[in-house]
């Protein structure tokens, strides 16, 4: 167990610090205590409605299963396969203990719902909560134990991947996109969902009322700020998985082009959503400026990471403070074009100054 905790549990919580902070900020920042109780009472009111939290717990369990699977596949963790030498009961006990700690957030909320259901004598909901949590633990533990019994499984390449590998050599700007799609899909989809909803919600307001561009600018600011988490992953990918690229004779402007292309591809869904939903009464050049600002924020933070390496929590704190400054400036009618230009110029300067002198210290984040 002393080995399992650092390999699976500690790394899981470290790798998902940003995710948990976001959940805490959402739960603590937007909802008051009686909102939580009202929502929980709604959940336990019928076993059918309980499907909502159970569905979320299920998705969270899939996240845990996926994380453990990725950890097991890493060469550095091969020593853990000696697990199969333990007696069967001990194997189950160890797997259950690991996933129990990983599923703790689901259990805490489950306990909250359980106590509420108990106080309201909702026996049916009580049982559904208990059974759901037990099944999720057993499912995650079963998968962990099964994975540890099936090391070095055969790696199959899909027909589509084979076809593309035969026809093309991947462009460099797509390296990260493929990596994040394969290894941080939950983070990618979560970020895209959040920023897409933000843009849709803000642009929808323009259909019923009259606002100037400031409201849209604030929405774009929040959407682009959410993408900084992905840029942090890009920085990790470049410096951990592709560290050797630094030794290549790639001119500065070409490196900038590669990075801007990658960031542009990451933000493509938001740019397309903006085109589709851009307020009709605004000019087309406002759309171009909005898209430019959308890209400028992640680019600035990407370059800032080369000036000083920060973990995701530190970066998101910085995003928060910068967001407040931008918010105030926008409220005082400072247009976003100069802010975007300032972001990009600052990014260029920082990157040129620090790129070659930057030294990455691995945070052991999912080395796959």
């Amino acid at each position: 167990m002393r080995v399992f905790v650092p390999v699976f549990v500690r790394e899981f919580y470290l790798a998902n610090t940003g995710f948990f902070l976001l959940v805490i900020a959402f739960a603590g920042g937007f909802m008051r205590s009686y909102d939580h109780i009202a929502l929980a009472e709604f959940f336990i009111s019928s076993p059918l409605v309980l499907i909502i939290p159970i569905g979320l717990w299920f998705l969270y369990s899939l996240k845990v299963i996926n994380f453990n699977w990725e950890r097991i596949k890493q060469n550095e963790n091969e020593f853990i396969f000696c697990f199969m030498l333990f007696p069967m009961t001990k194997q189950w006990w160890m797997a259950i203990r690991v996933v129990l700690i990983q599923l703790l957030p689901a259990f805490i909320y489950g306990l909250f719902l359980f106590l509420l259901a108990w106080s309201h004598d909702l026996i049916y909901s009580l049982f559904v909560i208990l059974i759901a949590l037990t099944l999720l633990v057993l499912m995650s533990a079963y998968h962990l134990r099964w994975s540890l019994h099936h090391p070095n499984h055969e790696k199959k390449v899909s027909f589509i991947a084979r076809f593309f590998n035969l026809q093309f050599a991947k462009p460099f700007s797509l390296f990260f996109i493929e990596w994040i799609t394969r290894h941080e899909l939950v983070m990618l989809l979560g970020t895209k969902l959040f920023s897409a909803l933000m843009i849709i919600a803000i642009t929808a307001l323009y259909k019923t009322d009259i606002y100037d561009l400031r409201l849209l600018s604030i929405g774009i600011m929040i959407a682009s700020g959410a993408n900084v988490g992905l840029v942090h992953a890009l920085h990790h990918f470049e410096n951990f998985h592709l560290s050797w690229v630094r030794s290549l004779p790639i001119p500065f402007l070409k490196r900038i082009y590669f990075s801007l292309m990658t960031i542009g591809i990451i933000l493509l869904p938001e740019i397309i959503l903006l085109i589709k939903n851009f307020p009709a009464e605004q000019d087309w050049h406002d759309y171009v400026i909005s898209s430019f600002f959308l890209i400028s924020v992640p680019f600035l933070f990407y370059c800032l990471l080369y000036a000083k390496d920060r973990n995701q929590q530190e970066v998101m704190t910085l995003v928060f403070y910068c967001g407040i400054v931008w918010f105030v400036l926008v409220l005082f009618k400072v247009p976003i074009l100069p802010l975007g230009i300032l972001n990009v110029v600052t990014g260029f300067v920082l990157w040129k100054r620090y790129y070659y002198s930057f030294e990455y210290v691995s945070r052991k984040k999912g080395a796959t």
């Binding site: 790696k155 590998n165 991947k170 030794s247 290549l248 004779p249």
Partner: protein
């Protein structure tokens, strides 16, 4: 000629390796040292992968810090235990590095054939054995026209045929491009028929020359 003056590399204030003065001309050089002595750190610094103190420059003044792009055109590095993202193919990597190092497609194809990479050229790295990965990293190190080729533990996991290919390539680059080849190895390089011009040893965190073999 490559000149290293007052070189030092520290991590968190702790000195890892220092090289007061070193001059290398075309030929093969063997850097020895026990595990953790700082060989890889020295190599990674010379390759421009990690920052370091001091001056590393070519005879014509092209230095690591003042001309980072032109310096990197001349220096290539093959890692001891290369790791590439599993979804990338040898094709993705060789074409990308070949493009960055201005390597003609003909040269790329020749290296692919020489190391026998053509059999798995379009397959993802996740399906490679450690020997296949090593061959790929060695082929990448010879792309372009490097003046300094740094190979960290080049013989490990290589089969006999690939070892012979490597030795031939080293000789070819020294003969035709007057290259400087820096090697580290715990194996006896003489057994692989590599002619060593000079050996060095890292002792007490300092690189010192051993008498020519």
């Amino acid at each position: 000629m490559l000149r290293v003056i007052n070189f030092s590399k520290s991590f968190s204030g702790e000195l890892i390796i220092s090289v007061p003065s070193l001059e290398l001309r075309s030929g093969t050089y063997w850097i020895k040292g026990e595990n953790g002595a700082g060989k890889t750190t020295f190599f990674r610094s010379l390759a421009g992968l990690i920052p370091c103190e001091g001056n590393v420059e070519f005879g014509d003044g092209i230095s690591l810090t003042q001309f980072p792009i032109r310096y990197r055109e001349r220096v290539s590095y093959g890692e001891a235990e290369p790791l590439y993202p599993g979804f990338l193919t040898a094709k993705d990597l060789i074409r990308f590095v070949g493009n960055a190092r201005n390597s003609a497609p003909l040269q790329q194809d020749r290296l692919i054939k020489k190391f026998g990479i053509d059999h798995y050229f379009e397959k993802p790295c996740a399906t490679y054995s450690s020997g296949m990965l090593k061959k790929l990293s060695l082929a990448i190190a010879f792309l372009g026209s490097p003046k300094v080729i740094i190979l960290d533990e080049p013989l490990i996991t290589l089969d006999e045929y690939a070892q012979k290919t490597l030795v031939d390539l080293i000789e070819e680059y020294i003969r035709e491009h007057e290259a400087i080849v820096l090697l580290s190895s715990h194996q006896f390089l003489e057994n692989a028929n590599i002619h060593i011009n000079q050996s060095f040893c890292i002792k007490n965190k300092m690189l010192t020359a051993i008498n020519p073999i």
